[in-house]
Symmetry: C2
Subunit: 209 residues, 2 copies
């Protein structure tokens, strides 16, 4: 196992490769190249070859990558060749959009339970699986009972840290946080942030005008 | 100007530093260190010092960084010490959540116009500035008339490419895309993706269970 030596930045690009391969499969394609993937993603072909070389030999010199094979390998590496149950906290517009998001299907994630603090939200059916919104007081029990380790926070900023603490205490190990605050969690818990400001600010550096 | 030599990956971390500094300011703090920033962000202090060294000398050995000074400098480098007007396309739950998002205020962005293809959405008032949702047919004209170069796409996947094309043809240079597809745009247009699957898949690699 050479896992622990692979830079996190490389791991971060694998889901992007997976998404590109997914689109190629949808287009009915069978073979691709690091050049084509690079052109599609705005990443150099050398970088893609180097990233993939951490995990083995996926392409043959001159013949490119077998798309389905590479897709399956990357899913296995990222452990998304299985389903991860997910809890979602926050049933406002954002929570609704996440619950309705069709993009999770087949990507390894299934929202199993939705929670909100607002009494008027509790009891509503929401999302593609028509989950009933539960009161926030049931969050910890649900996580423990179902053995869920992945959570999504889509609450206002001021509620997010308390939700994260409840999640972590109940056993959550990975949090996708939409609230515009940096969460404090133990070092064995992973957090990824979804923040439109970070995405926008990353582009303005390059803009004139 | 050494701008063009700075790796994009470094630029990508500056908004994250800016957000951390913003929270320190909100806490009433005045001085911080690369160590403290690193601990908060899960990035090594050496990386932070190296990233910042691309842009000059922001801290003194042994005394740390003046938070307000560093904050102002980073805002200037990222060109967010001004307001960028933004068009938003998509007025569903996700578009509503983006329009309502309080996190843009003071971060350099202001949503100036909102568009949707659905007749029942057009004419609704939406977001913290109560913008009236306009028909998609007015998108190009609005972009040109107001000289807007930043756009956000929050449409279903199947509409996103056409919206991107209209945006780019009208003059948009930076797109934040929430739709789960990779957009094809000219090389002088920047795209950043907001994709929960990418964030989640980036974490499962590290999970057991």
């Amino acid at each position: 196992m050479t896992r622990r030596t692979i830079p996190d930045i490389v791991i971060g690009r694998l889901p992007v490769y997976l998404r590109a391969l997914n689109f190629l499969i949808a287009e009915g394609r069978q073979i691709t190249s690091s050049q084509e993937l690079g052109d599609r993603l705005g990443i150099s072909s050398a970088q893609i070859r180097k990233d993939l070389s951490h995990f083995g030999e996926f392409g043959k010199q001159g013949t490119g990558y077998d798309i389905n094979f590479l897709y399956d390998q990357l899913r296995q590496i990222l452990k998304v060749n299985r389903m991860w149950d997910v809890v979602l906290v926050g049933a406002g517009n954002l929570g609704k959009a996440i619950a309705d998001y069709g993009g999770f299907a087949g990507k390894g994630f299934s929202i199993k339970a939705i929670f909100d603090t607002a009494p008027e939200k509790v009891g509503l059916a929401m999302g593609i699986d028509n989950r009933i919104v539960q009161p926030i007081g049931e969050l910890a029990d649900t996580i423990r009972t179902k053995g869920i380790i992945v959570g999504i926070i889509a609450t206002p900023a001021e509620e997010a840290q308390a939700v994260a603490r409840t999640m972590v205490d109940a056993g959550i190990k990975a949090i996708l946080n939409y609230a515009p605050i940096t969460l404090t969690v133990p070092s064995n818990v992973r957090v990824q942030y979804i923040d439109p400001v970070v995405g926008l600010q990353r582009m303005t550096y390059y803009l004139q005008g």
